[in-house]
């Protein structure tokens, strides 16, 4: 079976005042139908840019290159803007990080959910609003019919994220890209939203690309993981394999620095020494080498390529000397 989404050697370069800046560098991954892939990494590792590139939402300041983004056997990078527009919100939907600012303050929630239905499914206004009410019920917003007429400022942050999820589900997309969907929310609401997202994607059979920096979220909700560092994927594996036996030193560092309740309060939390690199001045060898406890001479001069380390998992590391 072919993958639903097959990203091949994707690179994104931004034009800046200080010259070109490569935010995503040769990223490849696949997502099968109905699968949840987590893309995990620190801020600035290129996770969100990768997501925006998939939907063609980066605008004019960025150049997207590579060997193609195959979605359902159709190369998204080769599509005209008009054809890409018909896929956005229809076959591929996105849930954003900031529920507080991602809804238009002057349009009712109903109008905003009904919009993609009217656009892509050619439904009448009344029909689209009826479907919007159904979607609000699906995302567990009580009294849906009445709340359709309300405006975003009348909703709490968690409720707004539910609205954004309803909006993403509106046209039964085959793929949902969720960019840190719970980062801006209260901890108590985070699990509710992720549970909801998982339940609804399972019901509809949609695949999910879940972008996060939270390994706890990865462990609980993803099937497979891709770890990104400085614009590249450094390790990719099934969740079970990754947590049982992380191969890349960066992945190990991330796991060691995740806070755990069981750890005694006296011990300081482990951190990865150093700073994420400046994308404009990446080292010649492995980008992680300056922070890596296992780095040796070869790591400083030769960039490690992704290599299959066991069936279904890859890692980009020269290994210990």
């Amino acid at each position: 079976m072919t993958a639903l989404l097959d990203v091949r050697d994707l690179s994104v370069t931004f034009r800046t005042e200080h010259g070109p800046l490569r935010a995503v560098d040769g990223v490849s991954f696949q997502v099968a139908r109905g699968e949840t892939l987590a893309i995990v990494g620190e801020s600035g590792s290129g996770k969100s840019v990768t997501a925006l590139a998939l939907l063609g939402l980066l605008g004019n300041a960025a150049t997207v290159e590579g060997a193609g983004v195959m979605f359902d056997d159709c190369d998204l990078t080769a599509l005209t803007p008009e054809a890409m527009r018909r896929i956005r919100g229809n076959r591929i939907a996105m849930v954003f990080q900031e529920p507080m600012s991602s809804l238009n303050p002057v349009l009712t929630v109903g109008e905003q959910i009904a919009e993609p239905i009217r656009l892509h499914k050619k439904a009448s206004k009344a029909e689209a609003l009826r479907m919007a009410a159904g979607l609000l019920e699906k995302v567990s917003i009580p009294d849906a019919a009445a709340r359709l007429k309300e405006y975003p400022h009348q909703f709490s942050g968690g409720m707004r994220q539910r609205v954004l999820i309803a909006m993403a589900l509106a046209c039964q997309p085959a793929l949902i890209v969720a960019d840190e969907p719970t980062t801006a929310l209260d901890v108590t609401v985070q699990a509710q939203i992720l549970d909801l997202l998982r339940q609804l994607t399972r019901e509809s059979g949609a695949a999910l690309v879940l972008i996060t920096h939270d390994l706890g979220v990865v462990a609980r909700y993803a099937d497979r993981v891709a770890v990104m560092y400085a614009g590249r994927i450094v390790e990719s594996a099934s969740v079970r394999d990754l947590f049982r036996d992380p191969r890349h030193p960066y992945t190990r560092g991330l796991m060691a620095s995740s806070p755990r309740l069981a750890v005694e309060a006296k011990t300081a939390m482990a951190t990865i020494a150093g700073q994420p690199p400046d994308l404009a001045r990446l080292p010649a060898g492995c980008s992680f080498a300056p922070r890596c406890p296992d780095a040796h001479a070869r790591c400083l001069v030769e960039r490690p390529m992704l290599e299959v380390v066991s069936p279904g998992r890859v890692s980009a590391c020269h290994g210990p000397a």
Binding site: G89, F96, S101, S102, N104, P105, V106, P116, L119, H153
Partner: protein, 316 residues
Amino acid sequence: MNDFVIRRCLALIPTLFFASLIIFCAIRLIPGDVIDLMLAQNDVASSADRDSLRAALGMDRPVIEQYFSWAGHALTGDLGQSLWQNEPVADLIAQRLPVTLELGALAILVSITVGVSIGVYSAVRQDTAGDYIARSFSLLMLSVPGFWLATLVMVFPSVWWRWSPALEFTPLFVDPVRNLTHILVPAVLLGLSLSGITMRMTRTMMLDVLRQDYIRTARAKGLKESAVIFRHALRNSLIPVVTLVGLQAPLLIGGAVIFEQIFALPGMGALLLDAVFQRDYPVVTGVFLVVGVTVLFINLAVDLAYGYLDPRVRGQ
């Protein structure tokens, strides 16, 4: 919402009271008395004549007493008699007001249409040649005085093509076409001179709104760029633009006074100017009262427009 309108209307009462009191007193402080002007035509006037004229016009009483007597009548719609023309002030204003309202309304329409559409275009095509041309246009409109532009329009077409704007005014309801051909040129010029700042404000707000997260959401839904701009961005951008249009109201009236003079339009501007020169106190006070009420109502309309444009205001 109804409560809001009622509260705003009640708030107009003290504002109008103080505004009219200030106008009433201020016009009487201008050097040169109307009695002197009237009697200047008569060399043999004695101080007894002077006093009797003053008493006949009711000006021998204290100013405050005169004010309350005037205000009492004004409440019933009686703004007094012109001191020079033997006509009620209310009638004089009623003849002139429609001309000024028409000029002002058309000018605002031109200002909003031109300013908003060029502003949106300029923001969407940021940093292209079209944007630079649009910004140069707005700078030109901001810096060129409207009356100078009006003078050019009066002079050059008549020199080049022997065409000049009509000098005889036709009321709108008598012959709409003739009326519009007369009033359109000054209305467009007045509107253009106000459009510069409307355009700048629209452009700035549009650029700000187009960077918002909800615009990205709209694009992620697969909306056409036109829907993103007009349905999602424009309404959010217009909220401050509406405030600006409200603030322009006094500017518009000032402009109308000048344009009416240049284009020989028998509006409130001409009436006011003559009345000031002749120290025709009741006319000046009456005109200012009507202008004040108009400005206050425009501001009320702006506040109501907020409620329409921004649901967050409506709830409060």
